[in-house]
């Protein structure tokens, strides 16, 4: 139970970063931290009692394996997280060129 609670604390750290930080790069990093907490949670769910690594060894066949499906889901989700972060970084660099600052309080051109 403690490990799931730690994942939740990591998610709250990321959420605090997104809400309170003013620098755009710090917002992007906090968004990544939030996503990583959900990957950790998803990978921890697949644990079965007394399980070993889910690789079939031809010499030693019958064992209880850890559930491999959440591991595949986490792999896919990591790739998606990479694409999202790369896109966010590209937009942040272009915003720096146009506005001249990383401070989010200066970037309020659109109102109403």
């Amino acid at each position: 139970m403690i490990v799931y609670l730690l994942c939740f604390i990591l998610f709250l750290v990321g959420l605090y970063g997104v809400i309170t930080r003013r620098n755009l790069i710090k917002i992007a990093i906090s968004l990544s931290v939030m996503e990583f907490s959900s990957f950790l949670f998803l990978a921890l769910i697949g644990y079965t009692e007394g399980g070993v690594v889910p690789i079939v060894d031809p010499a030693d066949p019958v064992k209880t394996y850890v559930d491999p499906l959440p591991q595949a889901l986490v792999l896919t989700a990591i790739v998606i997280g990479l694409a999202t972060t790369a896109m966010l970084m590209a937009v942040i660099i272009r915003i720096y060129r146009k506005y001249g600052t990383f401070d989010i309080r200066e970037i309020k051109n659109l109102r109403g």
Binding site: I55, A86, M89, A90, I93
Partner: protein
């Protein structure tokens, strides 16, 4: 962009080839050991990025490099999609089916289509991470001019 000091250049010269081979090893053994297409592709891209960072490059070379890596990326993912579509026409008539002979588990050439998928995904991921890096570097160079 300028390169780095002499020590970094010499170390990179020794190590970059080994990293490249390690990336290829992870990709090819994707159906036997952990790793596979994505992780191996990232390591492969890492060796190229290490070379560019250590030796520096001027602007025209970077632009030519980026058109090359974009072409490789699209070509690799298109061939991947084409291989997935061949399941529709060749015998089994199901999309994404694994219709090559399966072989014995534990050998390098086994599990039908999986090594081919791993190789093309590896090329695609390596090219795409290189493209992302080059696009950001080119943008920075344009600002500095």
């Amino acid at each position: 962009m300028k390169g780095m000091t002499f020590i970094v250049k010499k170390t990179t010269q020794l190590i970059a080839g080994i990293i490249f081979l390690y990336g290829i090893y992870i990709i090819i053994h994707g159906h036997l050991t952990p790793g596979g297409g994505f992780a191996g592709g990232v390591v492969l891209a890492g060796s190229f990025i290490l070379l560019i960072l250590a030796y520096g490059s001027d602007f025209l070379n970077l632009v030519k490099e980026e058109t090359g890596s974009t072409l490789y990326e699209n070509l690799a993912i298109f061939i991947f999609l084409f291989l997935a579509l061949t399941g529709l026409v060749a015998g089994v008539h199901v999309f994404f089916a694994n219709w090559l002979p399966h072989g014995t588990p534990g050998h390098l050439i086994s599990a039908g289509f999986l090594p081919l998928y791993n190789i093309f995904v590896g090329i695609e991921v390596a090219a795409s991470i290189l493209t992302i890096f080059l696009a950001l570097i080119i943008f920075k160079e344009e600002i500095l001019k």
